[in-house]
Structure formats: structure tokens, C-alpha cells
């Protein structure tokens, strides 16, 4: 093809397109939002990755860290010393009291020694508090916590036996996210005071961290490779800033993949709109194509004229979508800020822009190809005959086009998910949803045809007839309405499942206050304090810490060294918190063996393990385990295996001993109670903190609030993504309805000419769109019920009691929307005389 021919093609595409510009704009609008969604998320993900990479040191505050759940032994200490430690901390969860207003709160105490952080900053108010708190011997308290308890710098905070002056409000600390610190907000104190607080007692969960600044020549990867395995053997761990940022990157990658898929669904929905619109558009153009062929245009030339139009739509749509995407990505840090441990610097990269434009072109062409094929196969004879009944698109061409579409969906989802199996599952899932929707609309049309209510009145019959007449939009409208409703309802039901769980646990008589780290000597006094307030002790759980020493005749140290061992590493290094009792709980189910209630002196110790440990350590009934119980070796035999519902908000244990064994071992206790309201919770906490400063009080109602807060934030993000699909669905809806405008108007004008009243035409159209709106939204909601049930059973493992909201709000709401869009189509017919409309509409 020479330059002149190409120019002519563009000229013809423009001449033909400019007369249908408003319709082409609607096609374009169908994909703009989908592309905007994909581009914004892609670009934001790129930015996130870049930010994590650039800020990796600031995220950690050091070049590398060694951490351990216990005080380092000699070997670990020697490694720490040899690497020249720059700063260190011990952190743990504890209760804090505020003498100013007698408030109490569970906090994460970080006792720091040295000038941490070495990268990034401690943001405080006043600014110099970050530098002064070590010298002044004060505390930096989480800024939100200070707001909650109306604290000001200069007020004091009591941690254990010590009271610290508050030097400043802690606004941010490297590596910390707002949302994950809301249960136990951070409080920084100088390390030198830790012993005086007397908070580190038996059973306290603590973490020791050692921060290092690497010399420029140090190979951190090599250090990680050589030192980390040695530390692992000693129950310590080494993390470099690069490995931590990679891990963080992977975590956000998963989130962005999910968001990308949501965006891709919006794009696919838009493509269905394109296919439907181009189908009607090309059908109307076939006569022109036949004329062009009559006067000498070849099949290729006519095909290329319309292909050029579609490419141009895709190109402009891609550019506009990418443009909107660029603007939109600035919204993501706002939505995600509480999940991100750093500020995201947004910059514009080229790759997502290229992707947006390529997607626009590729998706438009792919989805328009099937109707476009009509231009290739239409015979010039149609000019004389005036019908397109003979238009036959070869089966092979149609199948090839469909195969190309499916292949593209798979390849794109594969590229987004980086996993062929997930990509395939997504593609199949999309096909199934589309097939169900299309199947239902087709079934519906056939049903009406077969059982057509001939005895109905004219307007009702006419409105039904419109659903399956030639060029009807029933399938595409049901697809657009159904898919949009499906998405919102699924999101609604899912949120419901998650929130219902917390509501049930929160409102019942289950324990909602957990008292941690209660020492044996304190137990009686603590119980009396709780009882004196009028509350019951629901659970009194003894806890003994221990580590595995030998598994099935093989020493844990030997298993660690065995490179062929498939045993999960966490089991070898984990400090187990074990309890003992004589009964099994409601949240547990015996899956193998026999539950042993009590052991008499000299009998083999039959313990119960959870099924996940049995799986991870490849253990069976009868296998032997030797535990190191704080220096004493204790041989046990697996007597039973339990399935534990870890999702229950209560204390769950992977290893349970029978009674009669651990009663004399060093132990601490966890007590639980139920308080009816916030004020009684505060009063109890105040009393307990005053008398027993080492005890941590976990108010589950606060945890539920945090969970609800997280869920509502996540649902905001999901709603934000669903918004693209819903808006695209509305655009596709408007596009589809508008495409049939010409035909509708001709019919309506004809009916008016024959004497139909305004009211009758209004009724016919209104009923048709009410049928479509109701059916589409009902199918969407029913499908979402099914998908939510599947999610409830397989993912959340929770019972699902569907809310009526989607039926009572979404169904009528969406039907009304469809009705309004449909009626706007024939407003001109209703307002003006028939002849005027015909002249105007051509």
C-alpha cells in the first residue's frame, strides 16, 4: 500500500467518522476509564517499587539489623560485637498509664540505646524532642495516642514502676505504619531505664534489635548469606535493608496485582461495550461499505477504513485514559497512606503510558474485530438488494477472533499476576461469569418467545417484543448491568461476612478483656481485683514457654544442619507457648488420636498438637517429641491431633499438655473477662495497672474497632476500584441505549403516526428498561450471592447470612438508573411532532 492510499484511508475514515463523532466518542468513553484504572495502578505500583528501593535504608533506619526474641547468647553476642553495633533496642507490649487523667493504654515500648535511626528521621513535635529524649531521660509518645488522651509535651507517662516526662509527640518512625500500630502505639524511652521499669518478667514477649551501619565496602548480600544461617541456629535473625525492602515490595506487589485485576475487569467491561457499539455501528455502515465496493473499493480498503476509525478511537481513548490515570494515581497515596510505612513520591514513568495507549488500541481492535469482519464479507450486491441477510462471516474467522480475545485476556492477566495458573483461573472465571450472564439473557429471551403472553395489553406486549427483536441490546445490557451489580454486591456481601464475624464476637458474652503476663504469684490478687469489680473470670490459662529439642529421635540442631530436611524452619526455632488443661475447647476438633485429660506420675506424657504442626513437622500419633522446658528436657508422645479455628478472637494453642505435668514448671497466666462497656473497661484497666504494672491488658473491643477501621479502609480502596467498573458499566449502558436510539425513534415515531399516545410510548419504553434493569441487577445479585457463599466457605471459613440491602437498595436503585437512561433516549419523540423528529434524526 502506497502513501497516497494510506492517506486516502485516513481521509475516508475521518470523513465517515466525523458524521458519527458523538457515537465514536461514546465507544471511546467505554474504554477510557478502564485504561485510566490500569494505568493509574500500574504507575502507582512502579512508583511504590521505586520508592521502596530508594527509601530502603530509611525504611529500616539502618543498613542491617540483627533481631532475636531472647537475650543474645554468647555466640550471637560475639557476632553482634564483631559487626560493631551502632544502636540497639528492646521492644515489648505493655500497659501505660497517664497520671494526668488516669487513662491507661496498651502500648509498644521501644527502649532504645544509641542514635537510632541512622537513615530516615524520627519526626516529633517539637522537632528537637527526637534529639533530646535520650539525654533528658524522657519518652516520645505516639502522636495519635497523645491526641486521644489529651496529652501535651511536659505531661507524664507511667511505664511499669517508672514515670517518664513526655518530651514530644512521635509523628513517625522508620518502618512503622499507622494502621498496624493502632492497637499498641509506640512509645520510645532510653534503654538505660528498662530494668527500673521492672516490665521484663517471665513470659514477657520481647524482641531485641541491634542496628548496624555498614561500611561502604561491605557486601550486604554476602553478609546475609554467611551470617544469617549461623544466627538462625541460635534463634536470631539478620535482615539487610535490601532484603527487607524486597520483602516489602513483594507484599505491596500482591496488593497491586489485586487492584490491577479489578482495573482489568473494568477495562473488559468497557470492551464488551466497544464490541456491542461497533456491532450496531458497523451494521448501519454495511450499506455504505457495499456502495464503496460497487464503485470499486476493495475488501481490504473498506475493512481498513473502519479499522482505522477503531484504531484512532483506541489511540485517543488510550491517551485520554492514560492522562486520567496519571492524575488518578495521586489519589492512591491518600487511600493507602495508613498502610504505607513511608511517603510515596509520585513521578510519571513512560512504561504505563505506552501500555495505556497500546492497550487502548489492542483492546479496541480485538473486541471490534468480530463486527468489523462484516465489512470484509459484505457483498456489493447488498446495494441492490437492500438487506444484509446474506452476510455470512465464516466460522473460522469468528473462532480465530474469539481465540485471539481469550488468548489476550490470558496473556494480560498472566502478565499482571506473574502466575500462569492464576492467569488461567482468572480468564476461566471471567469467561464463566460472562457465559452465565449471556446464557441467562439468551434463556430469558427464549423463555419470553416461547411463553409469550398474547393476552397482555398492547403496551406490555410491545415492551416484551422489544427484548428480542432484531438488533436488540438485551444481552449487552444485561451483561453491563449484571456485571456492575455483581461487583458491588460481592463487595458488599464480603464486607458483611468480615464485619459480621467481629460483631458476633463483640456482642456476645465472650471474653473481651485479656490480661497477659500475669505471674503465678500475682494470680490470686489479680483474680480478686477483677471479681471485686463485679466481673467474672472467664478463662484462667496457664502458659509455659518451651522449645523443641528433639523430634522423632533426631536432635533439632542436627535437623537444622541437614540440608535435605524438608521440615519447616519455624518449628525448629519457635518458642512455643504451651498450656495444659483436661478438656478440648469448642473452637477445637479432634482429628486423630485420643484426648488425654490427666497424666499420673510415671505414665508417658501424651500431648495434643494442632494439625498445622503435624503437617509442617510431618508428625503422626505415637511420634515422640522432647521439649526443652526452660533448661529441663521433657519427653512427650503425640496422643492426639486437633484442628484449631485460628480465626477465633481468643487464645489458641498449637501444643496442649494434659494436666498433671506442667503444674510446677515456671509459668505465667492469661486471664480473661467480659466487661460491658468502655467506662468499666477503663476503670478495670486503671485499677490493674496501678496494682500490677507488669500486666498487659488487651481490650478486644479496641481491636475490633481497629479491624473495622482497616476493613472500612480496604473497602474504600475496593469501592474505588469498583467505581471504575460501575462507571464503565453506566457508560456502556448509555452507549448501548444510544446506539439503538435511531431505531427506537423510528419505531416510536411510526407508532405515534399510527395514533399511539405519549403515555403509551412512554409505557412501552419504560417497561422494557424496567425488565432489563431488574433482570440484569437480579442476575448480578444472585451471582454475587453464589460467589460470596464460595468466599465464605473456602476463604473466610465463616457462615454467610446474606444481607437484604442489595435486594432492597441495589435492585431498585440500578433499575431506576437504567429506566432513566432508557427514557432519556426517547425524550425527543415525546416532546416533538413526529415529522419534526424524523427530519431531525434523518
Amino acid at each position: 500500500m502506497n502513501k497516497a492510499s494510506v492517506l486516502w484511508l485516513f481521509k475516508m475514515a475521518w470523513r465517515d467518522g466525523k458524521a458519527s463523532l458523538s457515537r465514536l466518542m461514546l465507544f471511546m468513553a467505554s474504554i477510557i476509564l478502564g485504561i485510566a484504572a490500569v494505568v493509574s495502578i500500574q504507575m502507582f505500583s512502579e512508583n511504590l517499587k521505586q520508592n521502596i528501593k530508594n527509601q530502603s535504608k530509611a525504611l529500616m533506619g539502618a543498613d542491617f539489623i540483627i533481631d532475636s526474641r531472647q537475650l543474645p547468647n554468647k555466640k550471637v553476642q560475639a557476632i553482634i560485637d564483631s559487626l560493631n553495633v551502632a544502636a540497639s533496642e528492646v521492644n515489648f507490649v505493655s500497659m501505660a498509664a497517664f497520671p494526668k487523667n488516669e487513662g491507661t493504654k496498651l502500648v509498644k515500648v521501644r527502649a532504645i540505646e544509641g542514635d537510632f535511626p541512622f537513615y530516615g528521621t524520627l519526626e516529633t513535635e517539637p522537632i528537637n524532642a527526637a534529639k533530646q529524649y535520650q539525654d533528658l531521660g524522657g519518652a516520645l509518645v505516639d502522636a495519635t495516642l497523645m491526641l486521644q488522651f489529651n496529652l501535651k509535651p511536659g505531661d507524664s507517662i507511667k511505664l511499669g514502676k517508672l514515670t517518664f516526662p513526655i518530651n514530644g509527640a512521635l509523628k513517625s518512625i522508620p518502618g512503622s505504619t499507622a494502621v498496624f500500630t493502632s492497637v499498641a502505639p509506640p512509645v520510645l524511652i532510653p534503654f538505660r531505664f528498662i530494668d527500673d521499669t521492672e516490665l521484663l518478667q517471665l513470659g514477657s514477649r520481647k524482641e531485641y534489635q541491634y542496628f548496624f551501619v555498614a561500611p561502604p565496602t561491605m557486601d550486604l548480600e554476602l553478609l546475609d548469606k554467611t551470617i544469617d544461617p549461623i544466627l538462625d541456629d541460635e534463634n536470631a535473625d539478620l535482615d539487610t535493608h535490601t532484603s527487607t525492602s524486597e520483602r516489602l515490595g513483594r507484599r505491596y506487589d500482591n496488593v497491586s496485582r489485586f487492584l490491577n485485576l479489578a482495573a482489568f475487569i473494568a477495562l473488559l467491561l468497557g470492551c464488551v461495550g466497544i464490541a456491542s457499539s461497533v456491532h450496531i455501528y458497523i451494521k448501519e455502515k454495511l450499506k455504505n461499505v457495499a456502495v464503496l465496493k460497487c464503485i470499486g473499493a476493495t475488501r481490504k480498503q473498506t475493512f481498513l477504513i473502519y479499522l482505522t476509525q477503531v484504531i484512532c478511537i483506541g489511540f485517543i481513548g488510550g491517551i485520554l485514559g492514560a492522562g486520567i490515570g496519571i492524575v488518578l494515581q495521586y489519589a492512591f497515596p491518600y487511600f493507602l497512606q495508613e498502610f504505607l510505612p513511608f511517603d510515596v513520591q509520585i513521578s510519571i514513568t513512560v512504561q504505563p503510558l505506552i501500555m495505556g495507549v497500546s492497550l487502548g488500541i489492542l483492546m479496541s481492535v480485538l473486541f471490534a474485530l468480530l463486527p468489523l469482519l462484516g465489512t470484509w464479507y459484505v457483498s456489493p450486491l447488498e446495494v441492490l438488494r437492500g438487506t444484509d441477510e446474506n452476510l455470512v462471516k465464516p466460522r473460522k474467522a469468528r473462532l480465530l477472533t474469539l481465540a485471539a480475545i481469550i488468548l489476550f485476556i490470558f496473556l494480560f492477566s498472566f502478565w499482571l499476576l506473574k502466575d500462569a495458573l492464576f492467569g488461567l483461573a482468572f480468564t476461566v472465571g471471567i469467561l464463566i461469569v460472562f457465559a452465565i450472564m449471556a446464557g441467562i439473557s439468551s434463556f430469558f429471551m427464549n423463555l419470553i418467545k416461547k411463553y409469550f403472553p398474547n393476552n397482555w395489553g398492547f403496551t406490555k406486549r410491545q415492551s416484551l417484543l422489544n427484548l428480542f427483536r432484531p438488533n436488540n441490546q438485551t444481552m449487552v445490557l444485561i451483561l453491563a448491568i449484571g456485571l456492575g451489580t455483581f461487583l458491588i454486591s460481592t463487595l458488599y456481601f464480603t464486607k458483611d461476612i468480615l464485619l459480621a464475624k467481629t460483631a458476633i464476637e463483640n456482642s456476645s458474652d465472650n471474653a473481651n478483656i485479656i490480661l497477659l503476663d500475669v505471674q503465678n504469684a500475682q494470680k490470686e490478687a489479680v483474680i480478686n481485683t477483677v471479681l471485686s469489680k463485679g466481673f467474672e473470670i472467664i478463662d484462667n490459662i496457664p502458659i509455659v514457654t518451651m522449645r523443641l529439642h528433639q523430634i522423632k529421635n533426631e536432635l533439632v540442631n542436627d535437623i537444622r544442619k541437614d540440608t535435605t530436611s524438608t521440615m519447616n524452619q519455624w518449628i525448629l526455632n519457635h518458642e512455643f507457648r504451651v498450656t495444659y488443661r483436661d478438656s478440648i475447647l469448642d473452637s477445637e476438633e479432634l482429628v486423630a488420636g485420643i484426648w488425654t485429660r490427666k497424666i499420673e506420675h510415671g505414665e508417658p506424657i501424651l500431648i495434643s498438637i494442632s494439625d498445622n504442626i503435624a503437617k509442617d513437622a510431618d508428625l503422626e500419633i505415637g511420634d515422640s517429641l522432647i521439649f526443652n522446658v526452660q533448661g529441663v528436657l521433657m519427653k512427650t508422645v503425640i496422643g492426639s491431633i486437633r484442628k484449631v479455628d485460628w480465626g477465633r478472637m481468643q487464645l489458641n494453642f498449637s501444643i496442649v499438655f494434659p494436666t498433671g505435668v506442667l503444674e510446677n514448671a515456671p509459668q505465667f497466666n492469661v486471664l480473661t473477662t467480659h466487661v460491658p462497656n468502655e467506662s468499666s473497661s477503663a476503670a478495670l484497666q486503671q485499677d490493674l495497672v496501678k496494682k500490677f504494672p507488669n500486666i498487659s491488658v488487651l481490650d478486644l473491643r479496641q481491636v475490633y474497632t481497629v479491624i473495622e477501621d482497616i476493613l472500612s479502609k480496604i473497602s474504600w480502596i475496593i469501592n474505588f476500584m469498583a467505581f471504575f467498573s460501575i462507571l464503565t458499566g453506566i457508560i456502556v449502558l448509555i452507549g448501548s441505549v444510544r446506539n439503538s436510539k435511531h431505531q427506537r425513534i423510528k419505531e416510536s415515531v411510526l407508532l405515534r403516526t399510527l395514533g399511539a399516545k405519549r403515555k403509551q410510548i412512554l409505557q412501552i419504553t419504560a417497561l422494557e428498561y424496567i425488565y432489563l434493569g431488574m433482570l440484569g441487577s437480579l442476575v448480578g445479585i444472585l451471582l454475587s450471592l453464589l460467589s460470596s457463599q464460595l468466599l465464605a466457605v473456602f476463604l473466610f471459613k465463616e457462615p454467610f447470612i446474606p444481607s437484604l440491602i442489595p435486594f432492597l437498595v441495589f435492585l431498585p436503585g440500578i433499575t431506576l438508573l437504567v429506566l432513566v437512561i432508557g427514557l432519556s433516549n426517547i425524550s425527543s419523540v415525546l416532546k416533538s411532532p413526529p415529522l419534526e423528529v424524523l427530519r431531525k434524526e434523518g
Partner: protein, 229 residues
């Protein structure tokens, strides 16, 4: 005289399921170059089918068609399109202007397909000949039926065709306008020396042509030369 169109033993059969419908059978005739030829017959006699076959718009079930010295049987769809572009012009009962193109753009499409650089200039000259030069930028929907057919005439002659097929050219026009259009058609045809094949119901119009082919039930009833008054 040179024959521009040779039809030999033409047959067109449509199959619908097991049923066969013969629309044209044993049609043979020839059209001399530069002559004015008409095909007449009642509705359903096969006139339009015959026109479609002669112009290479459709494929015969049997028989041969030779148009402008080329056997259509040997040409594929695109070669036929090229032949139409170079040698054939069309006028349709429903005008068949492209609704999205202006009058001038409609006229110059065949020229542009040939790669003609002066297409717009030639188009304007043709519009002047049909008396519509001031309406060059009007869309078909802004023109009356007579005006649309005059634009269609200009388009039909724009590529200087060797043969022009006119399918009921006055079928959608009133008598007075139809007469004006036919006058214009004959004038332009005479000036260009084009062979004209007209399909019509109108016997008066047929009698103004040099040869009349009468069809009935898909068969030739007569093929007579006339004396043009």
C-alpha cells in the same frame, strides 16, 4: 461494432434448504460499445439479479459474462472491484450516496480510489455540469431526491466509465424531476460516449434506448433493437 458486454447461457439459481429457485435461465445477449441498452420486465422477472451479475456484483450459477473484454469468472472479488472502479459506473434507484460524505466527497470517491490527484477539481466540474456546484458541501440528507440523483449521476461519470448501469434511475422521483434526471443522464452519456444499460419499468424510457431486452420469469422474452426518436 465492438461488444462491451457479452452474456452467454447465464443461469442464477438460489438454494434454500432443499428447495431450488431459478431466478434466471438461459440468458444470452450482447451489448455494443457506446450504445444505450435497456432491460425491462415486471417485478420479480430477474432484472436486478441480471444487473448485479453483469456488473460483477454477484456470481452466476452457470454461464459466462464478459465485461470490457474480461471474463468475470476468472476474476476474484478485488479484481472485480478494480474493474468496476476503472470501467463501470452505477446509478441506483435509491441514489445510494454515502450519507456521511458531502456531495463533492461522494463524487470524488471513485477518483480517489484510482489515485487521481485532481479529484476535487474534476468533482467540482461535474457538480457544475449537474447544476449543483453551490451545494458541494451539503450532505445527502440536506439535498432533495432529484438533487441526490444528480449527485449520483456526477459520481457515476466521475471515473469516465466504459459502461454505466442504471437501476430504475427515476424510480424514486416524481415525473418532472425524473424526466430532468433522464435528460441529464442522456446528455452526460452522449458527451462521454459511455455505454448505458438501464433497468426500468418505464416503457417510454425504454423506447428511448437503442435496444430493449424483455425479461419475464427469469427468461428472455425478446431482445429487439429500436428506432430512437
Amino acid at each position: 461494432m465492438t461488444k462491451i458486454l457479452k452474456i452467454h447461457e447465464l443461469e442464477k439459481i438460489y438454494t434454500s434448504g432443499l428447495k431450488k429457485l431459478t431466478v434466471l435461465s438461459h440468458i444470452s445477449f450482447e451489448v455494443e460499445k457506446g450504445s444505450v441498452f435497456s432491460i425491462v420486465g415486471p417485478s420479480g422477472s430477474g432484472k436486478t439479479t441480471l444487473l448485479g451479475l453483469c456488473a460483477g456484483l454477484d456470481y452466476p450459477s452457470n454461464g459466462t459474462i464478459e465485461l470490457c473484454g474480461r471474463n468475470l469468472e476468472n476474476l476474484d472479488e478485488d479484481e472485480r472491484a478494480q474493474l468496476r472502479n476503472k470501467e463501470v459506473g452505477f446509478i441506483f434507484q435509491n441514489f445510494q450516496l454515502l450519507p456521511t460524505l458531502t456531495a463533492l466527497e461522494n463524487i470524488i470517491v471513485p477518483l480517489e480510489l484510482q489515485g487521481e490527484k485532481n479529484a476535487a477539481k474534476i468533482g467540482m466540474e461535474l457538480l457544475q455540469k449537474v447544476g449543483l456546484s453551490d451545494r458541494f458541501d451539503h450532505y445527502p440528507s440536506q439535498l432533495s431526491g432529484g438533487e441526490q440523483q444528480r449527485v449520483a449521476l456526477a459520481r457515476a461519470f466521475s471515473n469516465k466509465p466504459s459502461i454505466l448501469f442504471a437501476d430504475e434511475p427515476t424510480g424514486n422521483l416524481d415525473e418532472e424531476t425524473g424526466e430532468k434526471v433522464i435528460q441529464l443522464l442522456f446528455e452526460l452519456n452522449k458527451e462521454a460516449g459511455t455505454t448505458l444499460v438501464i433497468i426500468t419499468h418505464d416503457l417510454d424510457l425504454a423506447n428511448r434506448t437503442q435496444q430493449i431486452l424483455r425479461l419475464k420469469g427469469g427468461k428472455i422474452m425478446s431482445n429487439k433493437k429500436t428506432i430512437v426518436v
